[in-house]
């Protein structure tokens, strides 16, 4: 267990009297002593607490969501009218590249990582993740990566090759600015966050479950997050290779994608999509997990067919590795490859369909409560199904060949990513906000937020089906009146509808931001168990204490919290309430652990992550700077290795607390 003792203020050591004198670190680890601040900005900067890191992931992702959203609005303004003048061709290329990069790598992935960080330990009854310092390191890598990718805006122009960055278009000849270099290096750094996060969460889930919580008693969110981490574990190294090859080509003159030298441009496509298709499931499965938590709670029923949801999630995880070439049907792979990947792509629709059916049957006959979280979940089911159906049409290779690189594809993946992934995340915001902050998001404003987003999203992406089938290509910075067509299929009309829709969507998201501000200012505390929830993360205070649970619960059921509140009446076979949430919590408090050891904060994750952008900038501008960055990294690793994750009494001067620290964490 990642439980270690830190005799610093704010940590629950019941033996310590109130008003403990200030703690002074005494021992030095690689020139730095341990950080001790437990309040203020320093307590965030050097934290290793999975909940604080979860919120930091969330805040960072939210910032990039706004950035990526503004980029999208600029794209739609450019395309609202024929021969748009908002952006020039070069800037337009940068805009769609960075919109996709930001939304995929800097919003959906880190937002899901934030939810995973915050709720996976709580859902499995653990006090932290397996490697708390590596967890902090991962967050700083994500932030550093996001900054490096976006730095290019100010240093000669952002990446402009599309988020898939096809070779040879990404080579120095066609992309002469530094944008692609910043892009490769920044994503490389952000990839470290995903890889370390994957290892951390898998170990946490496999090793740190509360007593009695077998794998098949885990909440579905935790299950699907685990599947996602396995996908990341094996997909990230492949994109790492691709990014290295591209960096070596652009910075050091290697020839990997130089067609004139005999290179095979399909190499990049294969490497990218072997990563890229599992990545698609990385984006959607966390939201599937959130929906699988929200629907049962607001249907007042257990999830229909829990094992089916779990195993279909795992099936998606496996089959997801065998469908990557459906992104390449138009590249001339040959009939056998195309047939194989076509069939595999049709097959992967089955486990996804299983989930849709399970969610629908969860609601069937339930006492539905249409809270905002529930609305977003139901919205996901409907919108994702639409996107899923257009996805199946892509699996038919001859049809896909017609659709490739048209707006039909754009329509498809925005229905599954906006209507799917983002609606799931919003469902999670409304569902878990009271848990994270102890205050409820305003439900009335939430309803407006939802309806504006649903209408805006359908207005924006619905017409793109028509635009695509009419042949409007993706990534063209202008369209002309002369080729707009007539009648119902006039693309001028539908482009305008889509652009207006994007403003409606933006307003919907603005309502969400307003809701956050209103909620933050509100003094009304959320009830302990506002939704009558079912899983362990609700079996603690809101927001949870630093040590999560006063005593680690022993788990006997799937939906343990529900089963502590309700029991089956032997006569009527209906569930009746036997305890309130407050009583369940009071029970845990009565059995509170006397000596709870929490991981100690550390400077090293931040120092180590700070070395990476220095190396990146050094590779681009001056090799001595890169070497200096490398030295920072070495120094940080050295200090990290010396500093035990277990703080012992000698690490601080006075006072020492009772008991010796024993721990196995090597974060």
């Amino acid at each position: 267990m990642a439980i270690i003792e830190r005799p610093a203020p704010g940590i629950i050591v019941p033996a310590l009297p109130a008003g403990t004198p200030a703690i002074t670190p005494s021992r030095t680890f690689g020139a730095l002593k341990r950080p001790v601040a437990s309040t203020g900005w320093k307590s965030w900067l050097f934290t290793v607490d999975h909940k604080k890191l979860g919120l930091m992931y969330g805040a960072t992702a939210m910032f990039f969501f706004i950035v990526g959203g503004l980029e999208a609005v600029l794209i739609r303004l450019q395309l609202a009218a024929p021969e748009g003048k908002v952006l020039n061709a070069d800037l337009y290329n940068q805009m769609f590249t960075m919109h996709a990069t930001t939304m995929v790598f800097l919003f959906v992935m880190p937002m899901a990582a934030g939810f995973a960080n915050y709720f996976v330990p709580l859902q499995i009854g653990a006090r932290d993740v397996a490697f708390p310092r590596i967890n902090a390191f991962g967050f700083w890598c994500l932030l550093a990566g996001g900054i490096v990718v976006n730095l290019a805006w100010f240093l000669g122009g952002a990446a402009d090759g599309g988020w898939f960055m096809y070779a040879p278009n990404s080579g120095p000849v066609f992309s002469p600015s530094r944008g692609v270099d910043f892009w490769t290096l920044g994503l490389q750094i952000a990839g470290i966050a995903s890889l370390t996060g994957a290892i951390n969460l898998i170990v946490t889930v496999l090793n740190m479950r509360a007593p009695g919580m077998t794998l098949m008693k885990m909440p579905v969110f935790t299950w699907l997050i685990t599947v996602v981490q396995f996908l990341l574990l094996f997909a990230i190294p492949v994109i790492t290779v691709a990014l290295f090859l591209l960096t070596f080509q652009r910075s050091f003159g290697a020839q990997f994608f130089d067609v004139a030298a005999g290179a095979d441009p399909l190499l990049w496509q294969h490497l990218f999509w072997i990563f890229g298709h599992p990545e698609v499931y990385v984006l959607i499965l966390p939201s599937f997990g959130i929906v699988s938590e929200v629907l049962p709670v607001f249907s007042r029923k257990p999830l229909f067919g829990y094992p089916f949801v779990v195993f279909s999630g795992a099936a998606i995880g496996f089959v997801g590795w065998g469908v990557w070439a459906h992104h390449m049907f138009a590249s001339g792979l040959g009939p056998v490859s195309v047939a194989v990947f076509s069939v595999a792509t049709m097959a992967i629709a089955v486990p996804t369909g299983v989930k849709i059916i399970n969610w629908t049957l969860t609601m069937w006959g339930g006492k539905l409560v249409f809270s905002t979280a529930m609305k977003f979940s139901v919205g996901l089911i409907v919108l994702f199904t639409i996107g899923g159906l257009s996805g199946v049409t892509h699996s038919v290779a001859p049809s896909d060949t017609q659709q490739t690189d048209t707006y039909y594809i754009v329509a498809h993946f925005h229905y599954v990513l906006f209507g799917g992934a983002i609606f799931g995340l919003f469902s999670g915001f409304y569902y878990w906000w009271p848990k994270m902050f102890g205050k409820m998001l305003n439900e009335r404003l939430g309803s407006w937020n939802f309806w504006f987003m649903v209408i805006g999203m359908n207005m924006t992406f619905g017409p793109m089906h028509i635009l695509g089938l009419q042949g409007q290509p993706r990534r063209m910075y202008q369209w002309t009146e002369a080729r707009a067509g007539e009648g119902f299929f006039n693309i001028a009309f539908w482009n305008l509808v889509a652009s207006i829709g994007s403003l409606v969507l933006t307003f919907g998201i603005l309502l969400f931001l307003i809701n956050i501000v209103i909620t933050a200012r509100s003094k009304v505390r959320a009830p302990l168990d506002p939704w009558n929830a079912r899983s362990l993360e609700w079996m603690t205070s809101s927001p949870p204490k630093e040590h999560n649970f006063d005593s680690i619960p022993h788990v006997h059921h799937l939906d343990e919290f529900f089963h502590r509140k309700y029991e089956e009446d032997p006569v009527t076979h209906t569930m009746r309430e036997v305890a309130t949430a407050e009583q369940v919590l009071a029970e845990l408090e009565r059995n509170a652990d006397t000596n709870i050891h929490m991981p100690s904060p550390s400077y090293w994750p931040l120092v180590l992550a700070a070395g990476l952008p220095i190396v990146s900038l050094g590779i681009l501008y001056s090799i001595p700077v890169a070497i200096a960055g490398g030295l920072v990294i070495l120094y940080a690793v050295y200090g990290w290795a010396l500093e035990p994750s277990v703080a012992v009494e000698g690490d601080y001067e006075e006072p020492s607390s009772n008991g010796h620290a024993v721990g196995t964490t090597h974060g």
Binding site: L195, I199, M208, V238, A254, Q255, A592, N595, S645
Partner: protein, 197 residues
């Protein structure tokens, strides 16, 4: 009860310690990294442009010797892990140092080989074969170098008795990494050097 659940060092659900499970997962991920690099090399090894071909420059006897040295370092690594489990500090430090030296010999051989190839006309930018050969074997060399740094750093920290956590487990983890890098070399040596284009 509460005391035991929070204090018990090995109360993990799988019975494997967190570090060991984490290391295995990391090595699983590394398989895909080398998989990608090896695939790239296999695709490009015949594309030599005007530069030398693999047959012209590979010195199989020399590389066989340096491969043998690297494989022997796995043996000394096993001895180090065994010494660490017996809490034999001197033996641990000794065998770790020997392992590092054998690893350094291998890396030295690689530096020599790269220099020789470069002088024979195979630069990083000469051909697709050159780019992918240096990238693949270079990545492996960097992995060995990182291993050497870990070995020597452990010895240095151990001499000052400042190893945090379980010493034998830390040595075992370095060992897992080291053996993995060796196994990868067996695959690279076979595919790159032994199997003709």
């Amino acid at each position: 009860m509460a005391e035991t659940t929070t204090h018990d060092a090995h109360a993990t659900s799988t019975g494997l310690s967190n570090v060991k499970l984490g290391m295995w997962l990391f090595l699983g991920s590394e398989c895909l990294l080398f998989g990608g690099l090896i695939s790239t090399y296999m695709l490009y090894r015949g594309r030599v442009s005007d530069g030398p071909t693999p047959e012209q420059i590979y010195d199989i006897p020399f590389t066989s010797v340096s491969s043998f040295v690297l494989l022997m370092s796995s043996l000394t690594m096993v001895l180090a892990v065994s010494a660490a489990h017996k809490r034999d500090d001197r033996g641990t430090n000794l065998w770790l140092t020997v392992t590092a030296l054998l690893g350094a010999t291998f890396v030295g051989g690689q530096v020599y080989e790269f220099t020789a190839f470069y002088n024979e006309g195979l630069g990083f930018t000469t051909s697709l074969f050159g780019s992918s050969f240096y990238t693949l074997t270079g990545f492996h060399g960097v992995h060995v170098t990182v291993g050497i740094i870990m070995l020597l750093a452990f010895v240095a920290i151990n001499k000052r008795s400042r190893v945090p956590g379980s010493k034998s487990e830390t040595v075992e983890m370095i060992g897992l990494y080291w053996h993995f890098v060796d196994i990868v070399w067996i695959i690279i040596f076979t595919l790159v050097y032994l199997i003709p284009v």
